[in-house]
């Protein structure tokens, strides 16, 4: 029996990358697997996708999925600028970026916020574990107060909330998930890929080596016991017995994406959260923080906000594909400028 294929005639294996060199059980690997699954299920053309990252454990992971897509492992914290240039030079590309909490929350916070402000078209995933693992266990800016690390002791500074930062900068798509909830990660990834602007996806991704004990909110034990699902999302009909069990017809809300596809949100409590209400989104995050919970789901979305390529009033043809005749004005154009400047007839 042949392997199952998608609409492009490709198998799931065709969407894999090189073998992961991350630690066994790392949450990042699970996320990579969900990216592979989603790209396969959506039938993405890999040559239309660019994979981008910064520096850190998370940023290594684009090598481990979509092996037929061009990739760019940029500098620490500087992936947003690479994404800005690449997606402006070729507006047809689908950018998938993978960053970490150090890469986004510390060294790259400025570029992260300006990327959001410009609404650069990219799925921007933060694999958030609250720790610098490649340098062997320093706190990151998303570490919780009171968290203990063998290397760094006890953290006494408040964490930066990636989703809150994104909301403050007028992000057009903000979601949070947990690497241990592959179903939800896949749902949110699909919604993010369908979103036309910057889609920030903060995924709590436990570090099995340096930060996986009960005092950390970025650990498996904590995540499993404190995760409060905001909505269940079904993108296309998906098998999810638990979700279907609790769905009520009155509890469904559809959000239309720019490509006409729909994300259907299923709220646990329909009076609880409207993902098109920015203030409510902030309040939700703030309340969750006070209760020491992290909520997951689509926190905010605005499909009307213009993207950078739209704001640049560029031709529809990608700049990178423009022929030389278009790029270099003709001889007469230079002669005209020279004539205007030359002094004496």
């Amino acid at each position: 029996m042949g392997a199952r294929t998608n609409e492009l005639g490709l198998t799931r294996n065709d969407y894999k990358g090189r073998p992961s060199t991350l630690c066994a059980g790392c949450g990042h690997n699970s996320i990579s697997n969900q990216i592979i699954a989603v790209a396969y299920e959506m039938g993405l053309n890999q040559h239309d996708v660019i994979k981008l990252s910064g520096i850190g454990c998370s940023s290594k992971s684009p090598a481990y999925f979509l092996g037929r897509s061009h990739g760019f492992n940029a500098l620490h914290g500087r992936m947003p600028s690479i994404a800005t240039g690449a997606t402006t030079a070729n507006r047809d590309l689908i950018a998938v970026g993978v960053s970490g909490d150090g890469d986004t929350g510390s060294i790259g916070l400025g570029q992260f916020k300006h990327m959001i402000r410009r609404n650069v078209p990219i799925v921007y995933i933060v694999e958030n574990n609250g720790v610098y693992a490649l340098t062997k266990g320093q706190f990151s800016a998303t570490a919780d107060i009171g968290q203990k690390l063998k290397y760094a002791g006890i953290n006494e500074m408040p964490p930066i909330d990636i989703c809150m930062e994104a909301l403050i900068d007028n992000a057009s798509f903000v979601a949070r998930s947990f690497a241990g909830d592959p179903t939800q990660v896949r749902e949110l990834l699909k919604a993010a890929i369908s979103h036309k602007g910057t889609a920030v996806l903060d995924i709590i991704s436990p570090c099995v080596t340096f930060n996986n004990h009960e005092t950390s909110s970025k650990s498996y034990p904590y995540g499993k016991s404190h995760q409060e699902s905001l909505q269940d999302i079904t993108y296309i009909p998906m098998y999810d017995p638990i979700i279907i069990d609790v769905m009520e017809p009155g509890q469904v809300q559809a959000v239309e994406m720019h490509d006409g596809s729909h994300v259907v949100l299923k709220k646990l409590d329909p009076t609880k959260h409207d993902p098109t209400n920015r203030l409510a989104a902030m309040q939700l995050l703030e309340e969750a923080r006070a209760k020491e919970q992290f909520i997951t789901g689509l926190i905010y979305v605005d499909e009307t906000q213009k993207t950078l390529p739209e704001l640049s009033h560029m031709v529809k043809t990608p700049l990178a594909h423009l022929p030389n005749e278009t790029l270099r004005p003709p001889r007469e154009a230079l002669a005209k400028v020279m004539d205007r400047l030359v002094c004496c007839d």
Binding site: G71, T84, T87, T88, A320, L327, C344
Partner: protein, 609 residues
């Protein structure tokens, strides 16, 4: 006005030989007062009379209220270097009047505002007191524009004193205001008021005058930032990211205007380019590299502090081999330094920008034509060599007005470098991103979006093998670095070659680059004329060096490297590249915020001889 002056009859008798088309005017004003229009009109009027000129704006890092000076050198011989002598001082800033008077060369002129009631202390110069306030008050100028338009009074008075044709001033104002009648007429009225008052009230007691020539026919006046911007447009630039910084901002203003004019789709009105104002220089270069990777012709323009911030990305562009262009319009460092003063101080930093063993091609335009030429050529080089290319301009070239012949349309088609398509891969059956198939160190690349399962590769700043796969193997590292060096050597033949003037029998050779050219041209003439000292000259147009430069050094007993920085940065590079010739290389380096002057060069060179 002339209590210390001799009578008109005596002065007529004492009137010295006229000095025609060979002097310097300095105009002292306050910045933010609008004197730039007046000064540019003066410059352009003399230029239109067919007389070679060069102008320099010496301005503070400030918006309003600090002293600023504008110099116009009038040179029948076509010399454009900075000169120290001031023959005509137009002193319009009371705060600096005493200081300005002292700058005037003996026998020169000081034109100042009569309402100041100052003492005319120097007996070796001629004072002309101009009633600017009275004259402007008589004109119908709105109150808010008075201080702006009153600058035209000294333009008119000077036109009388040195005999500038009013028609040429009219032409200059017409050019400046793009033919708009209202401002032209208002300003011209003030010019006439100053002109007529001087005709009626000033007895000329100085030797300076202009006389029509034919040396500027068919030439244009422009700033180097605009010339470089125009070059970039004809190089097919499609992506620009930048962050505001003096003195490079004008380049972006210019490129934006040219692109809007020439690169808008006639049917849709859409742009065939994008310009992004970044949050800092670090992001600007990141965007440029992202765009260059994706296949755009991408550039940024900056100055020293911005270039420092671009350091890590410069290393990535070198190592990951991504076409990109940085224009650095140099100003005086270190640090914030003198932000509105010129220097050639970023040569070493640009050549080696980045950590590890990093090096980049660097181009040095000397004038407007080369700024234009390197504007387009930099993109060809960046794509041919798949690397970051620097163009090092400077404030003097970038922000001042220069004469030039019209620019030559690019003489070669755009060269997009080694690009592999899906069809190529299908035919070959494989694609390895960093494979040196041709032996020149340059490996072919694919662009993102290439529709072939083997087309993709992973760009990384980490160690990689020929297939762009992560590798920590020493053999892979060594092979890659050896290939990068091979590629750099290929670049030695591709960059613009030096311009050599080899003088038979000359024991002395001079090496310079960029805007120091003007100083060297004049300095050599003086060495020959006044000291019977013959010199050869090699003007470097780019790094890396090649054998032309080595031979030039070897052919002379002594090589003087003339440059506008303090450490002698190019001299260091020459000694490093040619250690066997290092003993012949003497550094003549100087930087005080001003462009180099021939007088300094001649003295500094003779001191060594």
């Amino acid at each position: 006005m002339s209590d210390v002056q001799s009578s008109p009859a005596e002065s007529l008798m004492a009137e010295p030989e006229p000095i025609i088309n060979d002097f310097q005017i300095m105009i002292a004003t306050v910045n933010g007062s609008g004197s730039q229009t007046a000064n540019t009109a003066l410059l352009r009027a003399i230029f239109r009379m067919g007389i070679p000129i060069s102008g320099k704006n010496i301005f503070p890092s400030n918006i309003q209220g600090l002293p600023t000076w504008f110099t116009i050198r009038v040179s029948k011989d076509g010399y454009i270097a900075r000169m120290e002598d001031v023959h005509i001082m137009v002193a319009m800033n009371r705060d600096t009047f005493e200081e300005d008077v002292q700058k005037v060369t003996s026998g020169g002129i000081c034109l100042y505002r009569s309402e100041w009631k100052v003492r005319e202390d120097r007996e070796d110069i001629t004072y002309y007191a101009l009633p600017v306030k009275d004259l402007i008050d008589e004109l119908d100028v709105p109150g808010n524009l008075k201080s702006y338009v009153e600058n035209m009074i000294y333009v008119g008075a000077l036109a009388t004193i040195i005999e500038i044709d009013l028609d040429d001033i009219g032409f200059a104002l017409d050019f400046h205001f793009g033919g708009r009648a209202k401002p032209i007429n208002m300003n011209m009225a003030a010019v006439r008021a100053g002109y007529e008052w001087a005709q009626d009230n000033l007895a000329k007691r100085d030797p300076f005058k202009v006389a029509r020539m034919d040396k500027t026919d068919g030439m244009l006046l422009l700033d180097g930032n605009s010339a470089g911007a125009l070059g970039a447009v004809f190089g097919g630039v499609s992506f620009i990211a930048w962050y505001p910084i003096t003195p490079s901002t004008g380049m972006i203003d210019a490129v934006r205007a040219y692109l809007a004019d020439m690169r808008t789709d006639p049917n849709t009105g859409d742009a065939t380019y994008a310009i992004v104002q970044a949050e800092d220089e670090l992001a600007a270069i990141g965007m440029v590299i992202g765009a260059g990777w994706a296949g755009a012709r991408a550039m940024t323009s900056t100055s020293g502090p911005g270039m420092s911030l671009m350091s890590e990305f410069a290393g990535l562009a070198y190592f990951a081999e991504i076409p990109s262009v940085i224009w650095n319009v140099q100003r005086m460092g270190p640090s914030t330094g003198l932000p509105t003063r010129t220097s050639q101080g970023d040569v070493l930093a640009a050549y080696f920008l980045g950590h590890g063993d990093t090096k980049h091609p660097v181009l040095f335009p000397n004038d407007l034509s080369e700024a234009f030429e390197f504007g387009w050529k930099a993109f060809d080089l960046a794509e041919q060599l798949q690397t970051l290319v620097f163009v090092l301009s400077d404030l003097d070239l970038g922000m001042n007005l220069w004469m030039s012949k019209p620019f030559a349309y690019p003489d070669v088609p755009m060269d997009r470098g080694k690009l592999v398509t899906a069809e190529d891969i299908e035919r070959e059956g494989k694609f390895w991103r960093y494979e040196d198939k041709d032996g020149d160190g340059i490996a072919a690349r694919t662009l993102p979006g290439t529709d072939h399962p083997l087309a993709a590769y992973f760009v990384r700043g980490t160690g990689h093998d020929e297939r762009a796969i992560y590798s920590e193997r020493s053999e892979d590292w060594l092979a890659n670095m050896a290939r990068l060096n091979r590629k750099f050597d290929t670049g030695r033949g591709l960059v613009p070659q030096p311009v050599v003037d080899q003088v038979a029998g000359a024991a002395i050779g001079i090496i310079a680059y960029g805007t120091s050219d003007g100083c060297v041209i004049e300095g050599r003439d003086r060495l020959q004329a006044e000291h019977r000292l013959a010199t050869s000259y090699l003007r470097l147009r780019a790094l890396p060096l090649n054998d032309v430069t080595r031979k030039f050094i070897a052919n002379h007993d002594r090589i003087y490297v003339v440059e506008n920085n303090s450490d002698g940065q190019m001299a260091m590079i020459l000694r490093m590249e040619y250690p066997e010739l290092a003993g012949r290389i003497v550094s003549l380096a100087f930087a005080d915020g001003m462009p180099l002057s021939p007088r300094w060069m001649v003295n500094a060179l003779l001191e060594q001889e």
